[in-house]
Structures are given as C-alpha cells and as structure tokens.
C-alpha cells in the first residue's frame, strides 16, 4: 500500500504535453443543460437504498444472455420447435389422428412427435442451462463495495445497485458503468484497457473531477453523498452527458470520467467510483446485439429438399384422392360388403368430393412417412455428439490455460467443413499482444541473432523440403546448389539458437548477441553511439517503474507493450530505469563499469508525446553534466525525414537492416538524438510553454507545430526491431489453412504499419508480393476535399489496381490489398463495394487496418453476400463481436479473459492454431457425415413411404396401411435411427492424421461434392428403386398361393410384416454399405437394429395388444417357420443394394475421389512401405496458394532458380530448359 501511495504521488498529467486531452483543470464551461427526454436519470451517490423504490428503481446488475427462463421455457421452446415446417406438419397430423379421418392409431402419430420434440427441447434446455451457468460466473464475481461507515466489503456483481460506491483494484474489471471519483494517483488519473469494448490495446487515460479527488480513502466515503443527473442508458460508448451535484455545486460530467463495464483497470492501484448504469443498462450491454440464430447451408438446402418432398407428398396424395373419388363414385356402390354410405360421409358415393376431401387429409397423414420426422432430431443428436467430440479433442486442448475447445452451438458443425474465407482479428488472435525486443541496428551494425518464429519455422520447412527433394533425382539438380546456399544461410540462424539455451527467458526480451551483452559493447567500434542508443531506450518513454519487493526486480507499466519491451531491453543492457519523479528519471547505469551500477539522474525538461499522427515521441533531458539532449524515437520514415545532413551517417546500412526486419515481420522504430545548447532550448521552451498554457481550439495544432520545430536536424543512432509475438503455431496454421484452399483476410484495429508487419510475420505478405495500398492518406490533407472527390479517388485506386492485376502476365505474381478503415468507409458504400470485393478476391491477401467493429461486420457481410461462399470470423475481443455474429461461423478465442467474443461465438477455441484442426479435421468429417446422413435419411424414408403409396393402388385408394401402426411408429424412432446416428457421429473417410497431412481433401467441402443435387437426387432415385423392389417382390411372392407347407395363405398382416422386414433389412444393409469406417459401435448399432426388429416382432407377437391387429404370434407361428419369408427377405435385401454396390464399385474403379485413393493406399499399407511416396504426396496435396510459408519458400526457390539461370546464361553456358 505504502509503495502504491508513494508512486501515486506523481502527477501523471504533467508528464503529458497535451495534458490528458484537456487544456487545464479549470472548468471554464458550466454544467450541462440537461433537461427533457433522454436525460431523466438520477443517481444518488452512496445512497443505493433510494434506488430500491420506483421511480428510481433501475435494473439490477444481473445480466442474462439466456433465451428462456423457467416460465417462458415451455411456450417459447415449443413455439421454436413448431416453427419448423416439418414439425408443424406432424403436429397437424397428430391432431387429425384423433379424428376418424386418420389412417392410424393416434398413439402412433403422437408418440414419435412427443419423443422428437421432447428431445429437441431437452437439448435447448441443456444449452440454455450452460448459458445460464456462464452468466452466473460473471454475476457472481466479487466487487468491493462501500457498506457503511467507510467500510468496504465484497459483494457479488449481480447485487450491485445504482449509487453504490465501488472500489476497483488493479487488473480488475469494472462491474458496471462507473463515475470515476478518485484514483490512487494524486490527480485522479487512471488507466483503462478497453480491449473488450473496442479491441484497442493501448491504454486509455481517464481522469476524475477535481472536486472528488479528496475522496481517495475508504473512510472518506462515510459521509459522502452527491447527486448525478445524466442521460438515459444508450449504446454510445464515447459520449456521456451529465451533471454532478456535490456540496451544492453542480459540475458537468465528461466521458473521461466514465469507466465502462468490461473494461479493465491497468497501471493504477485502485480507483473509487459510483455505479451509474447497471446490468443491461450499461453501455456495453446496450451495445450487444442478440446473437442471430445461424443455420448451416446444408440445413437450408435440406429445407428445400423437405419442401420438395412435401410437394411429392401432395402430389401422391392427390393421385390417391383422385383414385379414391373415382373408386368411390363408380365402384363402391357395387361393393355391397362395404355397406356405403357411412354416417361420417367418409365413403359416400353420393358425395364423392366430400369424401375425397376427407381422403386427401387421410392420405397426407398416411404418406407422411415421406417426411422424415426424426430427421431434425437425429441431426440434433448427431450434432450434439459431434460437438462433444470437438470439445473433448485433446489436440484442441490448451494446456497453458486449461481450456478445451467449445462448440457453443452445435448446429454449425458441418459448416466448418465448407469454409471459404476466414476473416481474422489480429491482436489476441494472431498475436499475443506481447512485444519482444529481438534485434537492433546501432551505428549501422546489426545486432541480435535470435531468429523469429517465422524464420525458424521457415528454415525447418525448407530443410525438410530440400530433404524430400534431394531424394527425388528428377529435375531438381539445377536447384540443388541453390538449396545448399539457402540452407547455409538458414543454418546460422538455427544453430545460433542452441548456444545459450539454459538462460531463463525474460518476458519481452529475446535478444541474443554477445557482442553487446554483458557490457561487451564497450569494446565495439562505435561505443559512444551504442551508449546513446541505450540511453534513448531508457529515457524516451512515459512508463513508470514498479519495483517488485520479493524479487528485487523492477517491472514497468507502460502505455504500449513495445515501450515495455524497450525498457526491459535497456535494463538487460545495463541501463535500468528505476525511478521517476515529477521532473526526473533515475537510471542505474552499468557504465562505465559493468559491474558497478551508478544511479544517474536525468531531468526531464519536456516530453513531446506520441500520437498516431506524429508517429514519434521525444523527450528533452538534461543530464548530470548539464548537457541538454533531445532524444527521439519514431517510425523510420518520419525520423529519416528529420535527420540533419551530418546525421545520416548510418542511414544506408540502417535502411537495409530495417528492410530485413520488416520482411521478417518485426516492428521497427528508428532512434535519433540531437544536442541542444542552452539558448536554443530556452527560446524554444518559452514558445512551447506559451502555447501550452493558451486556450482555444487550435491549441493542439499549435503544440504540434512547435514540437515539430524542435524535432528537426536529428542524428540517427539506430533502429530497434520488436517482435509482436505471434501466438503459438500461427504461421504454420495459416500455411495449412492456405493449403487447404482457404482465403484469409485480416481485419484489425491497428495501424497500417503494424498490420503490414504482422502480415509479414504470418506470411500473408512476403517480399516480391505486389502490395496495393488503398488509402486516403496520400491525398493532400490540406485541401478539405469534398466526400465526393475522396470517393472518386478511392474508386480510381481500386480500378487501377484491378487493371494492374488483369494485365499481370506472371502466373506466380501475388497481390495483396491493404486498406485502411477510413478508405473502407467509402469502399463499402453500395456503389463501390462490388468493385472492392472483386479486387480483394483477386488478391492473395487482404489486410484491412484501422477498422471499427462495425466495419469488421460490414466487411464480413460483404464477403458473405458478395461471394456467396461461407465465411468464418475469428476474434477474441468485444470489437470482434459484430463480425463474429455476422459471419456464417463465428469463432472466439477463449484463452484470454474477455468473454464477449466467446459469448457471441459459435465455437470457442483457446488458440488460433486449433482452427486448423477444427476445420480440416472436424469440419471435414462433420460435413461429410451430415451430408451422407441427410441423403441416407431421405433415401430411407422414400423407400419406406412409397411402399405405402403403392399399396393404396391395391386397396382401392381407401387409405388403409399395409403395416401395423406400431411398426410405422418404430420405423423412424427406433429401427432405423441409431445406425444413421452412428453414421453421423463416427464415420471417417480418412483418419485425422491424413486429414491434416492432405489439406487438399478439405476442398471437398467448399466444392460441396457430397451434398450437391446430383447426389441428393441419386439417393432419392435409389430410394425409389428400393421401394419398387421391396413392394413388388413381396406382393408377387405372397400373391395368393399358400406360403406355408400347411397350406395357409398370407393375410394382410403377414404380407405387411414380411415387407416391413424387407424394408428394415434393405435400409440397414444400405447404411452399412455407405459406411467406410466400422468400429464395434457401428456394427453393434447397424446389425443390432436388424436384430432388434426381430426381437420386437417376437415380443410384440406375445403382447395382448397385438391381438386386434392380427399380429399375434406373427413371427413365432406365422412367418418364422416359413422358408419363403426368410428367402424373400434375403432376396429383397440383396436386390435393393445391388445397384448401389455396383455403382460405388464402378465409381471407385474409374472415377476415384481423393479420399478413395488414400483409403486404398492405407489399405495396402503403401504409406508404410513407401514412405517417400507418402511424403511426396503430402507435400503436393495442397491447393495452389500464394500465401503462407510454403508459398514463401516456393517464391524463394523460384527467385533463386531465376538468379541461377541468369548466372548460367550470362556465363555463356548452355542453359538446360526449365519448365
């Protein structure tokens, strides 16, 4: 505590040139005039009990994202269920089954429906329960709240009320929207990380009002009371209007005093705040939109098939009814044994149309088996199980954080197998938001040996590839030399890593170079420049040191992570920044002797801080000898423009190094300095102070101008390269995904340079790729162009770029589009978006930087709707919520603490790299499984339902069913459902290893090879064929003669049962043929279903219930002893499956698909016998791609080959022809 207090004595605001965005703490404008609608909220601070009664009773801080509650569950869930047409149809049918129109027993209609709907609702309930538990986790978080008499105690978030005083400590989330009263800093400043709200990683400064600053201790709240009147809840994150009445004075409130829920306190020990908006009133909750319910494309297509089946149903029902009307009118009067007309007019030859109408209803119910009632529920069961597999996959379990993958909604599993474009967030998704100081260039010499992740992985890849290539003695001799060359280059990189392995890793510092470490720099040629370099690192920043008492080390709290990395680096080099006072910075310098550090004081005279516009920051310091120095660090282009003529000594070498670093995906800054003499400085300072204390709108512009005059004629010292640390495995994953034919777009809130760096690091960009930067920056800012002109400019850039791509001859040329958010606003307008999309689709990589959350969503929608392909959005923060919800599939990164993205997502994974397995393995499988399953479902129901229809023609279209009601009831629910589920859950065309090794297999999904109309209709035709075979074979075999040695003839029940046996055996054998992967579970379920039919028949035959339907002892006495029954079953089963078997054998023989061939290779164990072939195929099994490592390596090989060829030709040798 004491430590915090001491540190807090610094008035942070004075560190800033621009004084925390406010000219001065004096309030020149009075309270806001807030009357009228929209501004009715009153908050009585520290008197939360007032808010327990109307009209001041605001909503509680309990948040709920569940769909249902206990009361609404039944009505709402049932309504949801019957929104599906098929279910509604079955509900109607069940209702009608209670009337005499029904061909069936009501039970046989109602029971399956109750079962199916009940199961679906149980699933809904379970999912909602999980959501509820997740909400409760948030709701039960503890916050420290003022209880009474200045005592604070913990309270769960959900119990917070408006008016409560809350104390939030460092790194905690704000439990509600708060008004900042005071902080541990004297001037009421606090740092807030808003990553969950807008995805920006830099910290934001909030400042309390002057009046409330004394309230910085627990006991001071004993007597505190005040009133806030402010705006009503609204979703605008950046505005706030309100008045604060305290001590009979009214003060205006600004957005800078508001701490929003779900943002986080950083670099500040604690803050006190008053709760203004709670729960769903808070801005972040107001911002959240209901997550749309998404349905997969397969399911949408399935709906179409269901409509198609409905029309078939209607069609055959109409045929039946017409037949019935004719029969009723002309034949029925002659059929004396029917004694027509009946009382209910169901069979009235006098009123054939009335009876016909009734019959139509009957027929619609009777043929309802055409619509698979259990399809939806089976799919749901399958998807839940598939989701279970996704959740349990050990390869997607992150050991560091202990988070498994989480399929939050199970209805998009198969969509994972059809993704075409991935839209990814950057920070937190691709990168860890951690900077590592990696390399530097000082005085024109490059230091730092450590290879970045990228280089390491690339080296490995290349070594492996050349290994494989050397084995093939074909046309590669030419490039052999080139390979060796590149290998040698890479070798140094790789080996240097092993030298000093035992050193513990330091967070933010991965620099390794003995030339300047441990004080060795003193022996380097430009030691004086190196000294300056280190001093700039340790002085030019706004960070605060925080000594850790336990370990004695110092950690730094910096606004941006790269600043932290610099300070850690400086410390490691022997320039430990240890203390900051109001006016000075103290550094422990291990100079001139490395062993004995000396504490030196540098007076900070001015601090010209960083803005995104200036892209540089400077400090002016006076060292102990009285020398005034301006130390500056900034973007290389900016610094190079400001160098003095004699400060350009190292420019050339440094530029070269900077390019190398850039290519390696490192973030670079240039460092420079300038010596000032006293007079020059004081003249400038006078001017600077005058401007700083002035008021007026152009104050900032003026300040900038004055700063600018100072930051000129600099002398270049060197450059730093910081690695924006990628998440583990990201480049490899991107590479694999690219090989699987997926396009990857990066949408980031970061600035363009950072985005481009990461593009390099992830191999989305590479040297030699043509970068098309579309921005509005390069139009002259002085001319306040009209929107129209800007727009035309953007359009022109787009058309030019498109033209350029069209004219490109080289097939290996790759393009990348990089566009910034401001330009994107124009590019996304209706009249331009298609041009933009066309351009983007033609390019290998697309990077959008500085985009707002809303733009992310808009881009996603553009891709989704413009290309008609399936998009996947992946992100980790609240700023990604829009795009996650907009995309066909939203994936959230669940490792970090913010929950918004995960809450909105369909799938949550802990690491970006798991995306590969999620798509290439699970997506691929799920797609095939679901596609096969649905096709089979239609097959089986067509095969079954049509037999009922054919029978009508033989029963005078009277609506009599050949089967016993119970058979029909069990058909969908028991006898054929489990094998389909096992197909949908366990089927694997190739195992997961192979899926990963052959990414090209993934393309079967996006190309939709398994659910195209050809296949669907093929299966339907198969069903039609099976129905014909089953029906007519049985009818003819059991026609009129005896079927038993005892002379008995078959009655309706016997024929029906024999036929039904045929159906069960045929469809179950069919599914066995469809499967290519049998574990004992499949065997058990498929053959078990057949056996269960016989068991059922046996049991049913013994039931008293079976007496009314002539099924009594049907198997034991009637059919079992009859050879004709068994032989018919065999005949029907085999005849039904004959064409399919022939078809797939033929298909495999002449038109094998990739997975067929791989299955065969595996089957013949060729992969083990011929490992070389297997490796070769693996390296070839990828889609043509221009991004990713492999493409990068390819490009490099091409480059080297080209160089080699040129060398040969210049030497006058005969060049062997190269392809």
């Amino acid at each position: 505590m004491t430590r915090g207090r001491i540190r807090a004595r610094i008035r942070r605001s004075s560190l800033y040139t621009f004084a925390c965005y406010k000219p001065s703490p004096t309030e020149e404008d009075g309270p806001h005039d807030i009357q009228g609608p929209g501004y009715s909220r009153m908050v009585y601070c520290n008197q939360p009990h007032i808010h327990e009664q109307k009209p001041l009773k605001y909503c509680s801080n309990y948040i709920s994202t569940t769909k249902y509650n206990v009361l609404t569950f039944f009505p709402k869930a049932i309504f949801e269920q019957f929104r599906r047409v098929a279910n509604l149809y079955f509900l109607l049918a069940a209702g009608l089954s209670l009337t005499p129109v029904s061909p069936f027993d009501p039970v046989s209609m109602i029971a399956p429906l109750v079962f199916v709907v009940g199961l679906s609702m149980a699933k809904e309930a379970l999912e909602d329960w999980r959501r509820f538990m997740q909400d409760m986790k948030v709701n039960l978080r503890k916050a420290s709240v003022h209880k009474k008499n200045g005592v604070f105690g913990p309270k769960p978030w959900m119990k917070l009320r408006v008016g409560d005083i809350v104390k939030v400590e460092k790194d905690q989330f704000f439990p509600a929207d708060l008004l900042l009263l005071s902080s541990s800093y004297e001037d009421g400043i606090c740092y807030v990380e808003t990553m969950n709200l807008d995805g920006e990683t830099n910290l934001k400064v909030k400042q309390a009002m002057e009046t409330t600053l004394p309230l910085d201790d627990d006991p001071t709240f004993k007597e505190f009371s005040a009133t806030i009147s402010c705006e009503d809840p609204n979703p605008s994150l950046y505005t706030f209007v309100g008045n604060f009445e305290y001590d009979r004075q009214v003060y205006p409130l600004e957005p800078t005093q508001i701490l929003l829920r779900d943002s986080r306190l950083r670099n500040t020990a604690y803050v006190y705040g008053v709760v203004i908006f709670t729960g769903h009133d808070s801005k972040v909750m107001q911002n959240s939109t209901k997550s749309p319910s998404k349905r997969s494309t397969i399911e949408k297509k399935m709906d179409k098939i269901i409509y198609f089946l409905f029309s078939i149903l209607l069609f055959i029902s109409l045929i039946s009814s017409i037949g019935f009307i004719l029969k009723t009118k002309y034949d029925l009067p002659k059929w004396w044994y029917l004694r027509v007309p009946d009382r209910a007019n169901l069979f009235n030859p006098g009123k054939p149309l009335t009876s016909g109408f009734y019959h139509l209803v009957t027929a619609l119910i009777l043929y309802g088996y055409l619509i698979p009632i259990s399809l939806y529920v089976s799919i749901e069961v399958v998807k839940v199980l598939q989701a279970l597999f996704i959740n349990k996959d050990i390869h997607m379990y992150d050991e560091e954080t202990g988070t498994p993958a989480d399929a939050r909604t199970s209805n998009l599993n198969e969509e994972l197998g059809q993704v075409d474009t991935i839209l990814s967030d950057k920070t937190g998704t691709l990168t860890c938001n951690q900077m590592d100081f990696l390399k530097c260039s000082i005085a024109g010499t490059a230091y730092g040996m450590h290879a970045s992740d990228v280089e390491l992985a690339a080296a490995k890849q290349m070594a492996m590839d050349s290994d494989g290539q050397n084995g093939t003695p074909t046309s590669w001799e030419k490039s052999g030399k080139a390979f060796q060359e590149s290998e040698i280059q890479l070798e140094t990189v790789v080996t240097s890593k092993d030298e000093d392995a035992p050193k513990p890793p330091i967070k933010g510092f991965s620099f390794e170079d003995m030339r300047i470490m441990n004080g060795h720099w003193l022996e380097e040629p430009h030691a004086d420049v190196i000294l300056l370099f280190f001093r700039i690192l340790s002085l030019c920043h706004t960070a605060i040191p925080e000594p850790n008492e336990e370990t004695g080390t110092i950690t730094y709290e910096a606004e941006s992570p790269d600043e932290g990395a610099f300070l850690v680096a400086a410390r490691e080099f022997g320039f430990e920044f240890c203390r900051r006072t109001q006016s000075s910075v103290f550094v422990h310098e291990r100079y001139p002797s490395f062993q004995e550090p000396i504490e030196r004081e540098y007076k900070i005279l001015n601090l010209l801080n960083f803005t995104s516009k200036r892209k540089r920051m400077s400090v002016i310091v006076r060292d102990e000898s009285g020398q005034i120095l301006l130390l500056c660090k900034g973007a290389d282009s900016i610094i190079f423009d400001r160098l003095s003529r004699n400060g350009r000594m190292y420019e050339e070498a440094t530029t070269k190094h900077l390019n190398e670093y850039g290519e390696a995906g490192l973030r670079t800054l240039a460092l420079a300095y300038k010596k000032l003499d006293e007079a020059e400085y004081s003249a400038w300072n006078e001017e600077f102070t005058r401007v700083k204390t002035s008021f007026g709108g152009d104050r900032e512009a003026m300040l900038e101008k004055v700063s600018d005059t100072m930051e000129r004629d600099l002398i270049l010292v060197g450059a730093t390269a910081v690695e924006d640390k990628l998440q583990k495995g990201v480049p490899q994953c991107i590479d694999k995904l690219a090989q699987a034919g997926l396009k990857i777009w990066v949408l980031t809130g970061d600035k363009m340079e950072t985005a481009i760096n990461i593009g390099y690091a992830c191999s989305l960009l590479r040297q030699g790729m043509k970068q098309i930067c579309i921005t509005t920056m390069n139009t002259d800012t002085l001319v306040q162009d009209s929107k129209q002109a800007l727009k035309e400019n953007v359009l022109m850039q787009i058309t030019n770029a498109t033209q350029m791509i069209k004219l490109e001859k080289d097939p290996n040329a790759a393009f990348a589009v990089i566009i910034d958010g401001k330009t994107l606003t124009y590019a996304l307008e209706d009249d331009m978006k298609h041009q933009f999309l066309n351009l983007a689709v033609d390019c290998a990589s697309v990077i959008c930087c500085r985009v707002s959350p809303k733009q992310k969503a808009l881009v996603t929608r553009l891709v989704k709707e413009g290309t008609g392909k399936i998009t996947l959005a992946i992100g980790d923060g609240a700023n990604d919520v829009g795009m996650i919800q907009e995309a066909d599939i939203g994936v959230g990164i669940s490792g970090c603490e913010g929950m918004q993205a995960v809450m909105a997502s369909d799938f949550a994974i802990a690491q970006f790299r798991f995306l590969e397995r999620l798509l290439v393995v699970h997506g691929h499988w799920c797609y095939k499984r679901i596609a096969q399953m649905i096709c089979y479902f239609f097959y089986k129901n067509i095969a079954f339902a049509l037999t009922i229809f054919y029978f009508e023609a033989f029963a005078g279209f009277s609506g009599q069913s050949l089967y016993v009601d119970w058979y029909m009831l069990l058909f969908n629910v028991v006898l054929t459902s489990l094998p389909v589920i096992s197909l949908g859950v366990f089927e694997q065309d190739v195992d997961s290893e192979v899926c990963l090794q052959f990414p090209a297999l993934y393309q079967q999904g996006p190309k939709n090879l398994f659910f195209d109309w050809y296949r669907i209709f093929g299966w339907m035709a198969n069903g039609l064929y099976a129905s014909l075979i089953i029906f007519f074979l049985n009818i003819i075999i059991f026609y009129d003669q005896a079927f038993r040695i005892g002379g008995q003839t078959a009655d309706m029940t016997a024929v029906g049962t024999a036929m039904f046996t045929g159906v069960i055996c045929a469809v179950n054998c069919q599914i066995a043929l469809t499967m290519s992967h049998f574990t004992w579970i499949q065997h058990f379920l498929v053959w078990g279903s057949v056996i269960s039919w016989y068991l059922f028949l046996l049991m049913y035959g013994e039931l008293q219930y079976s007496i009314p339907v002539n099924a009594y002892r049907i198997l034991l006495e009637v059919l079992g002893p009859s050879p004709i029954y068994w032989s018919t079953t065999l005949l029907v089963t085999v005849a039904c499956n004959l064409p399919y078997l022939a078809h797939i054998s033929f298909q495999r023989m002449f038109n094998p698909l990739d997975h067929h061939v791989i299955q065969e290779i595996k089957y013949y164990r060729k992969d083990i016998e011929d490992r070389h072939m297997w490796r070769k195929e693996r390296s070839k099994a990828r889609e043509k791609t221009k991004i990713g490592f492999t493409a990068r390596v390819d490009a490099k090989i091409r480059h080297l080959k080209g160089k080699l060829a040129r060398k040969y030709s210049s030497m006058g040798h005969c060049v062997p022809q190269q392809r």
Binding site: F1043, M1052, H1077, F1078
Partner: protein
C-alpha cells in the same frame, strides 16, 4: 479387411483384473473421445468386388433352382365357377339370380386329375376384385368382442353392423357379416371325399383371439343379409371358416383355405364337385374360383420366387464378369497416386 490401432492385451492375474478393467475403460474412453477406436475399414478393391459378386451369384442361382423345383412339384387345379354355375337363361342378369333365394344354387362340375396329388390336398376358394383390404372393411370388426363376446360393448368400430334391433351383434362388423358362404362337397366316383375343415385356421387365432365361450348372437338378423350364417351353438373359437375369413387379405385377389382332403388323388381320377353357389360376387363382377392344390416346403405353386433368385443371381454373375473384364482390360492400379486430383494437372 484389417484391424487398425487396436492392440488387445489380455492381462492375467486376478488382482490385476480391476486395475486393468479400469485401465481398459479409460483407454476406451480416450479412444472414443479422440475418435480413434480400432476400426475396420473395408475398401472395395477389385478382388473384393469381383469375388463378392461372384459369391452372391453362386449362392443365389442354386437357391433359385431349388425354389423353382419345389414350386414345380406342386399340383394345382383351378376352376372358376362364378359364371358357369349360373343357369344358362339367367346369365344375362346374374345379380337377379344370386339375389333370388327361391332359385336353387346347386352346381356340379367334374374334373379329371392330371397328375398324382399327394395328401393333404388343400381346398381354397379364391375371390377376385374383392377388396378385403378396404379401410372401411378392415376396420369394421371388434377383436375384443370376438374374444369376450357380449361382455365387451365398445363395438362402435363395427358400425353399421354393430347393433341390430337394439341388441349387439356377435360377431359384429362388416367382415363377419360378409362371411363367404359357398360350400363344396367332393366325390370320387360316387364316394364322397371327406373334407377336413378343422385346423384350417392358425392355432393362436383359435386359442387366443376367438373366445371359447363366445357364441354367435343376433347374427344375420337384420334386414340385410350379408353372407353366411353361423351356428349359434358353436363357440367362435370353433367356427374356423369365420376365423379364416376374419384374416383379411392383403390384395383384392386372394385365396382362403376351405379345407383339406386327406387322401391321395391319383392321376386320371375323376372328381366331381357339388357346390352351392351362394355368395354374391356378381354385383361387383368379381370371380369365384375353386382351387385344389398340394403343397411343398415352400407352400403353394410360386415360380416367381425361384425365377427372381435366378435372375438376381445371374445379374450378379454378369456384373462380376463385366467388372472382371474391365479390370483386366482397363485397370487402374489401386492406391496409385496418379489418381489423386493434385496429380492430374
């Protein structure tokens, strides 16, 4: 076929049993959740396909021949009598003939036995264009009443033949009401051939579906007489022709067992049938046929099953030969990487 990934280790030792069981269970759970269970992955390679097709063909053709043989061994005499048994002058209005109860319905026919018939010889009547499977007809019965008689009164399903003169009808419903009532008597020369009309219905029907204590009541007492009357002194469980009739047929053409002749009939025997042509099929121009048939292990005469087997078997052999031919002539090497799509270009 091959087993992959599964290594089965059986541990011996009693005290290890529980441990190994748990281990095995956890191993199973792991393999299950990782979708890694040992699996059999059959691949339709040409040897498999061809031999499979051949095997099926080879199995099916003999079965078919066997069935054909059985079917051919059945001797069948079929005699359609509905038209013939109407006296010549009344043939223009058969309906009037059948409805006029004053006209005697006797009719006699002689056949010559073509082929030796071994007992038992089954007598069937066959009706044609008779929709016993019509929904209205099928539903018009009460199985509870058949079993429990007058004790059961929920017989609304039997409408319109449920109540007559205020009393329930036993057995109720259209099916029972329309019971077939032609009768046949057979003579060899002048000796009457005994027709056994017992045990023509299923045992279970007699024992469990038709009450032993249930006697016909108020049956065929209404204004409309349907078919046969029943002897009110015999319980339903013994009225076997009713039991057979109540098993509704699946198709509009059907045979029902009438009885058995339990003597062999030799070739060239002359049989005469004395029949009472009572049943009205004339109003819907259905035919009535008398069938005498022996039976084989397969039942009656039914060439179709055997032919179907032979046909399917032949097509298997045919397809197998085509595959063989194609495989030999134009084979692709299985598991050859040139067929992978990325090797096409």
């Amino acid at each position: 076929m091959e087993m992959e990934g599964g290594s089965s280790s059986t541990s011996i030792g009693i005290q290890n049993d529980t441990v190994s069981l748990r281990q095995r269970r956890s191993k199973f759970m792991h393999q299950f959740t990782q979708q890694n269970l040992p699996a059999c992955k059959p691949v339709l390679t040409p040897p498999w396909v061809i031999s499979m097709f051949f095997v099926f063909g080879v199995i099916f053709i003999p079965i078919g021949l066997l069935c054909l043989h059985a079917s051919q061994s059945v001797v069948e005499i079929v005699y359609r009598y509905d038209a013939e048994c109407v006296p010549e002058p009344l043939r223009s209005n058969k309906l009037a003939y059948i409805k006029d109860s004053s006209i005697p319905k006797n009719c006699t026919k002689h056949f010559k036995i073509q082929k030796h018939m071994t007992a038992p010889i089954y007598i069937y009547y066959q009706l044609d264009n008779y929709y016993q499977n019509h929904r209205r007809y099928v539903k018009s019965r009460s199985d509870q009443q058949l079993l429990h008689g007058l004790k059961y009164d929920g017989i609304s399903t039997c409408s319109p033949e449920d109540v007559n003169n205020g009393h329930p009808v036993v057995p109720c419903g259209l099916i029972a009401w329309s019971l077939f009532n032609d009768t046949y008597t057979f003579f060899r020369g002048i000796d009457e051939l005994r027709v056994n009309r017992k045990n023509i219905a299923w045992q279970s029907d007699r024992d469990h579906k038709f009450g032993k204590e249930v006697y016909p009541f108020n049956f065929q007492n209404g204004t409309l007489i349907g078919g046969a009357n029943l002897d009110p002194n015999i319980p339903l469980s013994d009225q076997e022709d009713l039991i057979v009739w109540m098993r509704t047929a699946a198709l509009p053409t059907f045979r029902k067992l009438y009885g058995r002749i339990e003597e062999n009939l030799d070739a060239d025997d002359v049989i005469s049938v004395n029949l009472l042509n009572n049943y009205n099929t004339y109003s819907f121009s259905g035919s009535k046929t008398l069938v005498l048939s022996t039976s084989s292990w397969l039942g009656g005469r039914n060439n179709f099953l055997g032919m179907a087997y032979v046909a399917i078997g032949t097509s298997f052999i045919f397809i197998a030969s085509i595959f063989l031919l194609l495989h030999v002539k134009n084979s692709r090497s299985y598991g050859d990487t040139t067929n992978l799509s990325w090797n096409w270009k």
